[in-house]
């Protein structure tokens, strides 16, 4: 049986949107798939050595479950984003959900290839020293080369 392949484009850098690419990539790798993730725009945040800056905001997110109903005007107040992030992380820990750091390590251990989009690295003036080791840098053509051979290709 030929090895299955999956390519993911990770474009988001919020706590909730950071999970799907890393969950799917680590799982596919565990199933023996060959996996690449192309990190672009805000998805580049997932490649930083320190992931503490990855947060979730209740603002403009009416679907976020809240312990008490909260008017939008309250979500705007300083500290609300930090509080929502802390509450979400606490809940995840209690429920046995892996941290982003752990999932990312599991991906790298399982040889998931991480590619940082060079154009957006330059656009946001990231230093490569801010990112973890073991990643590659490339552009759309680099992604398409692998994406064209995949069984599953996702934009997240």
């Amino acid at each position: 049986m030929a090895t299955k392949k999956m390519a993911i484009i990770a474009t988001k850098g919020t706590l909730d949107m950071a999970y799907p690419p890393l969950i799917l990539a680590s799982t596919a790798a565990a199933l023996g798939w060959d996996v690449q993730i192309f990190f672009t725009f805000y998805g580049l945040q997932l490649l930083r050595k320190n992931l503490d800056g990855i947060r979730i905001s209740p603002l403009a997110n009416p679907a976020m479950p809240m312990p008490v109903p909260m008017p939008v005007i309250v979500s705007v107040l300083p500290g609300m984003e930090a509080m929502a992030t802390m509450m979400m992380k606490d809940k995840m820990k209690k429920k046995g959900v892996a941290s982003l750091e752990e999932l990312r390590s599991l991906c790298l251990e399982a040889d998931v290839k991480f590619i940082a989009c060079q154009m957006t690295v330059d656009l946001f003036e990231f230093q490569t020293s801010e990112f973890i080791d073991g990643i590659e840098y490339g552009g759309a053509a680099t992604f398409m080369k692998f994406a064209g051979e995949t069984d599953v290709c996702l934009f997240i």
Binding site: I23, T27, A29, A30, L31, G32, G96, V97, A110
Partner: protein, 75 residues
């Protein structure tokens, strides 16, 4: 059932029971049996899908006191 190794995935949520089961299998020899205990209800369907896709045989799955027990034979 006799087994060569045990992995306790209790308290872990998706995808950790599967990803760590794969890791637990990695240093085992073909034909050896791994016993996995999980509390994530999603792991029942996921473990079957894992077995089917990787060729590791799911010999038995049972539920004991809200715990899900799996026996996997390494391919």
């Amino acid at each position: 059932m006799n087994h060569d190794k045990e992995f306790d995935a209790s308290g872990l949520a998706c995808p950790l029971p599967i990803v760590k089961t794969k890791k637990a299998l990695s240093d085992m020899a073909p034909g050896q049996v791994l016993r996995v205990v999980a509390t994530d209800p999603g792991s029942v369907a996921d473990m079957a899908a894992f077995a089917e896709q990787t060729g590791n045989q799911l010999l038995e799955q049972s539920t004991q006191d809200k715990k899900f027990v799996f026996f996997l034979k390494k391919a």
